[in-house]
């Protein structure tokens, strides 16, 4: 289920109103354009393909959260269109449909838990979709299994008694229970310790392996390089780069300029290359860098 952004610009000062929504896109293009600095997003144009693992990076306030809220019609472009499955989600019915297909997990999702029991919280989404009780039950079972929580131990407990990490798992399950085909995560590992980070990234990789399209917003370049098929870098609401990790991380200077880095191994490889070492291009992770350096060392000793 591809999601296409067609020349999307968005301003918080001139959001697409309901009136405009009824009249369609042409009306949204009219009206006084907001001053240039007021754009939270500007000329975003890309297509999210099926089965992709898509990363979004950018400095604070670059519009990452704003962008992902366009994927299920929480925000509508001031100019341009967002097509989910070929349908413009400016239309209310299409937006509702998109919400059952695109699961959006906000930053610190555990702060949005509310129900008396874990079961009820996870069942909130499926119930809203109007599923029958036994279908809801199946969804909850499956979702809790997907986030590696034991159904019988947690289902009757209050979400507020759980640990922070477990709460976040429950919140993930609440979105997965709606059986989305695209999962969009806003900084899913923010505020976790390294071990929990690894666990969560493992879970997310698992969702991707099960066939979900995954979009992940992250500040961690190592994670993005390791996990993603493509990375979009935003700068002040505009697309700075879009490409495979290899392409993106070859522009170390440009990334530095917007306050982002490159993965640690890549950084080291780049500076070694700068110092005259004969390393090939391409993306380096720790293992590959170690292998290349070992090879160079053996060649030199021999």
């Amino acid at each position: 289920m591809p999601i296409a952004f067609e020349d999307v610009s968005f301003s918080y000062h001139a959001p697409a109103t309901k009136k405009r929504a009824k009249k369609g896109v042409s009306a949204a293009r009219k009206g006084a354009p907001p001053p240039p600095e007021a754009w939270a997003l500007k000329d975003i144009d890309f297509c999210l393909e099926d089965g992709e693992f898509f990363g979004i990076a950018g400095h604070t306030g670059s519009g990452k959260s704003t962008l992902i809220q366009h994927t299920n019609g929480l925000l509508h472009p001031t100019v341009g269109r967002v097509l989910v499955d070929g349908q413009d989600i400016l239309d209310k019915k299409e937006a509702t449909r998109a919400r059952s297909k695109v699961g959006l997990v906000f930053q610190y999702p555990e702060y949005q838990l509310f129900a008396a029991t874990v079961y009820d919280d996870v069942a909130f989404g499926p119930r809203n979709m109007g599923l029958a009780p036994d279908a809801v039950d199946a969804c909850v079972h499956e979702a809790l299994a997907q986030v590696a929580l034991d159904f019988d131990t947690v289902q009757g407990r209050s979400p507020f008694e759980l640990s922070g990490g477990q709460q976040r798992r429950v919140a993930f399950a609440g979105v997965l229970a709606m059986k989305p085909s695209v999962l969009v995560l806003d900084e899913p590992v923010a505020g976790l310790d390294p071990a929990a980070r690894r666990d969560f990234l493992g879970l997310i990789t698992g969702f991707h392996d099960e066939g979900l399209t995954v979009v992940i917003v992250s500040h961690n370049m190592d994670d993005l390089a390791r996990l993603c098929d493509r990375i979009l870098v935003l700068k002040e609401g505009e697309m700075l780069m879009l490409g495979t990790p290899e392409e993106v991380f070859s522009h170390e200077g440009a990334l530095r300029e917007v306050g982002l880095g490159v993965p640690a191994a890549q950084r080291m490889a780049n500076s070694l290359k700068g110092a005259g070492l004969d390393l090939e291009g391409g993306l380096y992770d720790t293992a590959r860098l170690a292998d290349s350096l070992a090879a160079l060392y053996h060649a030199a000793v021999r």
């Binding site: 299920n72 929480l74 699961g103 906000f106 949005q112 509310f114 129900a115 909130f124 979105v175």
Partner: protein, 266 residues
């Protein structure tokens, strides 16, 4: 920028520069003046002055009206009560026990105008005064009552914190709302429609977040050795100036004019 009741509208007009204590007291005085108007003549005088104040503060009229927009339902409810409960004069309409008469309509219109003017003048106070200034003024004016055991500093501190967190909670409510909409919640018509569960899905996270903020805030205050108001000094002590005396004069003139209109026969 949009003016919202309780939000500060930055500016450097005379109204912005007045001493907040004088402003608070005079706002109270204006309230008394508006209540002392007994006829539409008096209200007209009040309206002229209130809109004059807005012009003086350089706040566009549209924004002024917008700032009280949300509270306008109070005015409507109060006016409706009067339509049905005040009787006298010609009866225009009746349906069973409900009866709309001339006196009722007159009274409703009068109360409606009076309340609107009251709201506008209160809104002007918050639009031209930062919350910090308001709480400072509040504390200062309550200090005399400390002798009777009133915790003036603590009260104004609580007020300041509450005001500071209103926009924060509004923002968090928006995020929570979006998160639940993403999970298929439908609040589009009314949050009450889907039953208690829908309201709970917004209110429970909002309250837990309020408690979380309260806890961190008290920790932060403790770790900065906050110990209440005793012995605290001020960086910018408040001082009355000629501006405040002139403002007092203007309001006294307003009061006298309004009292005078009460002698105009209806």
């Amino acid at each position: 920028m949009i003016a919202i009741f309780g939000r500060y509208w930055p500016g450097t007009s005379p109204l912005h520069r007045m001493d907040p204590r004088a402003k608070l007291l005079l706002a109270f005085f204006v309230m008394v003046v508006i209540f002392s108007a007994q006829s539409f003549w008096g209200l007209a005088v009040c309206a002229a002055f209130v809109f004059g104040f807005f012009a003086c503060a350089r706040i566009p009229l549209v924004q002024a009206i917008r700032s009280v927009g949300l509270l306008f339902f109070i005015v409507v409810v109060a006016a409706l009560f009067n339509v049905f409960f005040v009787q006298g004069g010609t009866v225009f309409f009746h349906f069973g026990p409900i009866q709309v008469s001339e006196a009722g309509l007159y009274q409703a219109a009068f109360i409606g105008c009076r309340l609107s003017l009251l709201l506008l003048s209160m809104s002007l106070l918050t639009l031209t005064t930062t919350t910090l200034d308001i709480t400072d003024a509040f504390e200062y004016l309550l200090t005399p009552f400390e002798r009777f055991g009133l915790p003036a500093h603590e009260l104004s501190m609580m007020m300041g914190i509450a005001l500071r967190f209103l926009p924060q909670f509004a923002f968090e409510l928006q995020t929570i709302h979006r998160a639940q909409v993403s999970r298929g919640a439908n609040f589009s018509n009314s949050p009450w429609k889907g039953g208690l569960h829908m309201v709970g899905s917004l209110m429970v996270p909002l309250f837990t977040s309020a408690f979380r903020h309260a806890e961190t805030l008290s920790l932060a205050m403790d770790s900065r050795c906050y110990h209440g108001g005793v012995g605290r000094t001020r960086l910018a002590p408040l001082a009355y100036g000629p501006l405040d005396r002139r403002a007092l004069a203007v309001i006294v003139v307003m009061f006298v004019l309004v009292l005078a209109t009460n002698f105009i026969p209806r």
